[in-house]
C-alpha cells in the first residue's frame, strides 16, 4: 500500500519541468493601488498648498473616502476576478482620483478665479458629488464582476442589449430640448437637478451587441465578394449591418448634433467588424462612410460647420472671441503651462469655459505641464494596452471581440476629446474617461474596466489541471 497523501504531495521528478503556475499578482495590484492613492493624495495636498498656501481641511476625509472606495474595489477583484490584470484597477483609480483633485481645484477657484463666485456648471458640492459618483462607479464595477461570472454569459443577451443600447441612444433625441439639450448637444436626460448621459451606457450595451452579433455572423461577413484594386470587397448583401450602423450614427448626429458620440459608435463598430472578419475592406468602407457622413454633417448642420471652422482657423479673425473661444482658451492655458506646468493651484484654468468637463485635459496641461499631460496620456495608453492584451490572450471569440472593441473605443474616446481640445481634430463634446466631471461617464468607465477585467480574468486564469500522472490510478486497487 502506498500512502495516497504522500503520492499527491510528492515533489516533481527531476526530469520533469514544474508546470509554472501563473500568479494572480494581486499583491502587485495592491502595491500599485497604494501608489496611485499616494499620488492622488499628494496631488490634492499640492493643489491645496498652491491655492491657499495650506493643506485642504478636507484632506483626511476625502483621502480616506477615496482609499476606501478603491480598497473595496481591490477586495472585490480578489474575490471575483483573482486572475485579472493587476494594472487596470490602479490605472483607473489614479485617473479617477486625479480627476476629483482637479475638479476640487477648479471648484475652489470659482468663476474668473474669484473664490466663492460659483460657476454655474460647477457647484460647491461638485467634489463630494464626484466622489459619490466614484463610489457608484466602483459599485458598478463590482456589480459587473459579480453578475457576469463569465464573459460569454453576456452573449445570451446580445439582442436584448442591442435594443437597450439603441433605446438609450434614442431617448435624448426623442425628448424635448428642454430635457435633453446642453451646449448645442442633445445627449442628456435631465430630470430635476439630475442629469445623465445615456450614450455612455449605450456604448457598453452596443459593444456587447456588436460582439455577439459579429461572432455569429463573422463567417458570412468574411466571405469575399468582388475584388477591386487588390481589396476583397464584401458581398453587397453583407453591407447591410455596416450601413445600418452608419445610418444610426448619422441619425445620432442629426438629432442629437453630437458628432463625438456618433464617431465613437461608428468607430467601435468598424473596429469590431475588422477584428471579426480581418478584412481590410471593412476598414476602408467604414473610413469612407465616416468621411462622407462628416462632410454631409458639416454642410448641413451649422453647429458642426462652426466646429470645423473653429478647428481649422482657431485664431483667424473674430473666431478666438466667438466660435473657437473655448478652444483658444484651452490652448492658451496649455501654452501657459509650458513644459513643466504652473503647478497645481498656480495656473488659471478657470478662464476656459467648461474646463471641468470636456476641457479638463487642458487644465492638467496648464498646471502639470507637458510633462503631466504626457503622463496622463500614458496612463490612458497603458489602460488601453492592458485591455487589448486581454483581448489577445482570451480564447473565447466573443470575449476577444468585446475586449478588443471596448479597448479600442476607450482609445478612440481619448483621441477624440484630447485631440479635440488640443486642436488636432475638430472639437466634439464628449467626456474624458475617468477625469471629466459627471457621473454617467465615470460609472460607464468603471463598468468598462470591470468588463475588461472580467475578460482578462478569463484569459489569465490557469486551465484546470488535468491529472496527468497515470500511475496514481494504478495504486488504487479494488478487491
Amino acid at each position: 500500500m502506498t500512502d495516497l497523501s504522500a503520492a499527491y504531495s510528492a515533489p516533481p521528478r527531476e526530469d520533469e519541468q514544474p508546470v509554472p503556475m501563473p500568479r494572480g499578482r494581486r499583491r502587485t495590484e495592491l502595491l500599485m493601488l497604494g501608489f496611485a492613492v499616494v499620488v492622488v493624495v499628494l496631488a490634492y495636498a499640492c493643489a491645496g498648498l498652491g491655492l491657499n498656501g495650506r493643506l485642504p481641511a478636507s484632506l483626511p476625509l476625502y483621502c480616506v473616502l477615496f482609499a476606501a472606495i478603491v480598497g473595496v474595489a481591490h477586495l472585490a477583484v480578489r474575490r471575483f476576478v483573482p486572475w485579472a490584470d493587476p494594472l487596470m484597477l490602479p490605472l483607473a483609480a489614479m485617473l479617477n482620483g486625479l480627476g476629483v483633485v482637479m475638479i476640487w481645484r477648479l471648484q475652489q477657484s470659482g468663476r474668473g478665479g474669484n473664490p466663492g463666485v460659483v460657476i454655474g456648471t460647477l457647484s460647491t458640492s461638485s467634489t463630494l458629488l464626484q466622489l459619490v459618483w466614484s463610489a457608484v462607479g466602483v459599485a458598478a464595477f463590482i456589480a459587473v464582476l459579480m453578475v457576469i461570472r463569465e464573459p460569454r454569459t453576456l452573449q445570451r443577451y446580445t439582442y436584448t442589449l442591442g435594443a437597450v443600447g439603441l433605446v438609450l441612444l434614442a431617448i435624448p433625441a426623442l425628448l424635448p430640448a428642454s430635457l435633453s439639450e446642453t451646449q448645442g448637444a442633445k445627449v442628456w436626460i435631465k430630470l430635476g437637478g439630475f442629469s445623465i448621459q445615456p450614450g455612455e451606457f449605450a456604448k457598453l450595451a452596443l459593444a456587447v451587441f456588436f460582439a455577439g452579433y459579429l461572432v455569429s455572423k463573422r463567417d458570412v461577413l468574411s466571405l469575399a465578394g468582388r475584388r477591386v484594386l487588390g481589396i476583397d470587397l464584401p458581398r453587397a448583401r453583407d453591407l447591410g449591418p455596416v450601413l445600418i450602423a452608419w445610418a444610426a450614427s448619422l441619425l445620432i448626429l442629426f438629432f442629437e448634433t453630437d458628432i463625438g458620440t456618433s464617431a465613437l459608435f461608428f468607430g467601435m463598430f468598424v473596429a469590431m467588424i475588422y477584428i471579426a472578419t480581418q478584412r481590410t475592406s471593412w476598414l476602408l468602407i467604414g473610413f469612407f462612410l465616416f468621411i462622407g457622413g462628416s462632410w454631409l454633417a458639416g454642410t448641413i448642420i451649422p453647429h458642426v460647420e462652426s466646429r470645423f471652422t473653429a478647428w481649422l482657423h482657431p485664431f483667424a479673425g473674430n473666431n478666438a472671441a466667438t466660435s473657437s473661444f473655448q478652444l483658444v482658451q484651452g490652448l492658451e492655458g496649455m501654452g501657459f503651462g509650458g513644459i513643466f506646468g504652473t503647478g497645481l493651484g498656480h495656473g488659471q484654468p478657470y478662464w476656459t469655459p467648461l474646463v471641468q468637463s470636456d476641457f479638463i485635459m487642458t487644465a492638467f496641461g496648464e498646471e502639470l505641464g507637458l510633462t503631466g499631460l504626457m503622463a496622463l496620456l500614458l496612463l490612458f495608453g497603458l489602460l488601453v494596452q492592458r485591455g487589448l492584451r486581454a483581448a489577445v490572450a482570451v480564447k473565447d471569440p466573443f470575449a476577444k471581440l468585446l475586449a478588443g472593441g471596448l479597448s479600442f473605443v476607450l482609445a478612440l474616446q481619448v483621441f477624440v476629446i484630447v485631440g479635440g481640445v488640443t486642436d488636432l481634430i475638430p472639437l466634439t463634446g464628449i467626456t474624458t474617461p475617468f477625469l471629466s466631471q459627471g457621473g454617467s461617464s465615470l460609472v460607464a468607465s468603471w463598468a468598462l474596466v470591470g468588463l475588461l477585467m472580467r475578460v482578462s480574468n478569463s484569459a489569465r486564469k490557469p486551465a484546470p489541471q488535468p491529472i496527468q500522472d497515470e500511475g496514481m490510478t494504478q495504486v488504487v486497487r479494488t478487491g
Binding site: 474668473g112 478665479g113 474669484n114 473596429a271 475588422y274 477584428i275 471579426a276 472578419t277 480581418q278 485664431f315 478666438a320 472671441a321 483658444v328 482658451q329 490652448l331 492658451e332 492655458g333 496649455m334 501654452g335 501657459f336 503651462g337 509650458g338 513644459i339 495656473g347 488659471q348 478662464w351 496641461g365 496648464e366 505641464g369 507637458l370 499631460l373 504626457m374 496620456l377 490612458f380 495608453g381 488601453v384 494596452q385 487589448l388 483581448a391 489577445v392 471569440p397 476577444k400 471581440l401 478588443g404 479597448s407 479600442f408 482609445a411 478612440l412 481619448v414 483621441f415 484630447v418 485631440g419 488640443t422 486642436d423 488636432l424
Partner: protein, 490 residues
C-alpha cells in the same frame, strides 16, 4: 482574430502618438506665440501675481522710488502699482494700466515685468529655488529734488508748460516735468469700466493732462533761437568774436514791403553794436539781418546739428523740433529770431544750452541709468554717447560769454530774475518771448534756456511756459529754482 487586434493596437498607438506629438507642439513650441497673443487672459492677469520692478530716480545720488508694486489683498492680483509722487513724475513713469502702459512703464516693460531675455537666467534660478519671480528695477537719471522743484514751480505758475534739465556732460535727463499733469495712480484700477471713465475724462480735459509737454509738445522758441543763429554766425566766421560789431538797424526791411523792428521799437546800441550787446539785449533786427546774411539753408543746417528736425528717443519718443526750409529773406529773418514756423520742444531748449555748456558737444539725452536684476546685479548700464558736435569749443566759449551777459549784465534780459545774487550761482542763459496766436493776439510764450554754474556747467535747463508772458519773468525763475534744487543751494 489576433492579427486584427494587433493591427488595431497599432492604430491605438498611432492615435496616442499623434496626441503626444500635438501636445508637445502646443506646449513646447506654440507656447510663446500663444503667450504673445493679444487678449491672453492668463498672461494678462499673471502680471499682477508677480512683483513688478520699481522705477527709482537716482540723479541725486540717492534712490527715490517713483513707482513700485505693493502687496494688496483680494481680487485677481496680489500686487498693485503705486506712484508715490504721481503727478510730478507722471511724464516719466507713465502708467501701468490693464489696457496699456505708457512712459518708462511701457518702454521698459520687459525689464520691469521680468520677461527680458537678460533676466531669463535669474527667472530660471528663481524657479528652481522656489523663489517668487521678480521684475528688474529700472533706475532713471532724474534728480528727485530738481523734478519736484520743477513741477512745483510750474504748478504755482498756473500756466501750461514744461521743464527739462540735462546733465550737459552726459546727456542724463535730470528733470522732465509737464503741467498740467495727471495722477497715474488712477490708472492702476483693475476695473475696466472705471479705467475707461478716468481715461476718457483725462482725454476730454482741455488742459491735456496726459500730454508730456517736455517731449511731445512744441512751442515757438522765440529769441532763444538766437543761440543757433549766433553759433552759425561764429562758426561760418561771418562774425569773428563776441566783440565784433553787427548791423542792427532800427528797422530791418524784409523785402516784401514790411520791416522787422525791435521790441517796443527800441534801438539797439548805436546801430552797430558788438554781437554780445545785441545778444544780451536780444535785438531782433541784428539777428534778423544775420539770418538773411547766413541764409535759410545755413540756419537749418546748424539747427539740425543742435538736434532740430529729428525725433529723439530717450527712450520715450520726442516729436521733432522744427526749423523749416526757408529761402525768402523775410522768413529767413523771422526764422533767425525764432518766429515764423520755428517750433521747439522743451527738451530741445535744454539741448541748446547743454551743447554750449559741454564745449560744443551735444550728448544724447537719456533717461534710463541702469537696469538691475532682482539680485541687484546690473544687467544694463547707460553709456553716455555723443549725439553731435554743433560748434567748436571756441565758439562754445563765445556763446558762454554771451549767455553769461544775459544774466549778469544789468542790461541783460534776465538780469532781474537770474543774476548771481538772485540765483546764488552764475547762470548763463537766453530768454525768449514768443508771440503767437492770430495776429500775435495770444499771450506770449515764455521761454528760457540756461546752464549753471556758467564756468563749470553741471545742469542745463530748458523751460517753456505757454502764455506766461516774458521769458525772463515767467520762465527764468522756474529754471533758477530747478538749478538751485539740483545744486542743493540753500
Amino acid at each position: 482574430m489576433n492579427r486584427a487586434i494587433f493591427r488595431l493596437s497599432l492604430a491605438c498607438l498611432v492615435m496616442f502618438v499623434l496626441l503626444m506629438i500635438n501636445v508637445n507642439y502646443v506646449q513646447a513650441f506654440q507656447s510663446s506665440s500663444l503667450a504673445d497673443r493679444p487678449g491672453n487672459s492668463r498672461v494678462f492677469y499673471q502680471q499682477f501675481q508677480y512683483k513688478r520692478g520699481s522705477i527709482v530716480a537716482v540723479g541725486d545720488g540717492g534712490a527715490t522710488k517713483i513707482a513700485e508694486s505693493r502687496l494688496v489683498k483680494g481680487g485677481h492680483g496680489t500686487y498693485k502699482r503705486y506712484y508715490p509722487d504721481g503727478p510730478a513724475y507722471a511724464p516719466v513713469t507713465g502708467f501701468d494700466s490693464i489696457f496699456s502702459k505708457t512712459g518708462i512703464e511701457g518702454t521698459e516693460n520687459k525689464e520691469l515685468s521680468g520677461t527680458a531675455p537678460a533676466l531669463e537666467v535669474h527667472n530660471l534660478i528663481s524657479l528652481i529655488t522656489g523663489k517668487p519671480k521678480l521684475g528688474a528695477t529700472v533706475s532713471v537719471t532724474l534728480s528727485a529734488a530738481a523734478q519736484q522743484a520743477a513741477y512745483k514751480a510750474l504748478a504755482s505758475s498756473g500756466h501750461e508748460g514744461a521743464v527739462v534739465a540735462l546733465n550737459p556732460r552726459t546727456g542724463a535727463i535730470l528733470t522732465m516735468a509737464s503741467y498740467p499733469s495727471y495722477n497715474p495712480n488712477a490708472y492702476t484700477t483693475l476695473n475696466g469700466d472705471k479705467l475707461d471713465k478716468i481715461d476718457t475724462a483725462n482725454r476730454k480735459n482741455p488742459g491735456q493732462p496726459l500730454l508730456n509737454r517736455a517731449l511731445q509738445a512744441t512751442y515757438p522758441p522765440g529769441s532763444t533761437f538766437k543761440i543757433v543763429t549766433s553759433s552759425a554766425a561764429f562758426s561760418t566766421h561771418r562774425v569773428a568774436s563776441p566783440s565784433s560789431p553787427v548791423d542792427a538797424p532800427p528797422s530791418l526791411p524784409l523785402g516784401n514791403g514790411n520791416s522787422l523792428i525791435n521790441d517796443d521799437n527800441e534801438t539797439c546800441g548805436d546801430g552797430h553794436p558788438p554781437i554780445i550787446e545785441a545778444f544780451l539785449l536780444s535785438c531782433n533786427t541784428a539777428f534778423g539781418k544775420l539770418g538773411q546774411q547766413l541764409g535759410g539753408a545755413k540756419l537749418r543746417q546748424y539747427a539740425n546739428k543742435f538736434g532740430f528736425n529729428t525725433a529723439h528717443e530717450v527712450p520715450l519718443a520726442t516729436v521733432p523740433s522744427v526749423i523749416p526750409k526757408v529761402t525768402d529773406p523775410a522768413f529767413e529773418a523771422f526764422t533767425a529770431i525764432g518766429q515764423y514756423n520755428d517750433s521747439v520742444t522743451p527738451m530741445q531748449e535744454a539741448m541748446l544750452s547743454a551743447a554750449i555748456a559741454n564745449g560744443g558737444t551735444l550728448m544724447k539725452p537719456y533717461l534710463v541709468q541702469q537696469v538691475q536684476a532682482p539680485d541687484l546685479s546690473a544687467i544694463d548700464t547707460a553709456q553716455p554717447t555723443v549725439l553731435s558736435r554743433p560748434v567748436t569749443s571756441t565758439v562754445a566759449g563765445y556763446m558762454t560769454q554771451m549767455m553769461k551777459q544775459v544774466t549778469q549784465n544789468p542790461a541783460g534780459t534776465a538780469y532781474a530774475t537770474a543774476n548771481s545774487s538772485v540765483a546764488g550761482v552764475e547762470i548763463a542763459g537766453k530768454t525768449g518771448t514768443a508771440q503767437n496766436g492770430v495776429n500775435n493776439t495770444g499771450l506770449d510764450d515764455a521761454v528760457f534756456t540756461c546752464f549753471a554754474p556758467a564756468d563749470n556747467p553741471r545742469i542745463a535747463v530748458g523751460v517753456i511756459v505757454k502764455g506766461g508772458g516774458f521769458g525772463a519773468a515767467a520762465a527764468a525763475p522756474i529754471a533758477v529754482q530747478v538749478i538751485r534744487a539740483y545744486l542743493k543751494l540753500p
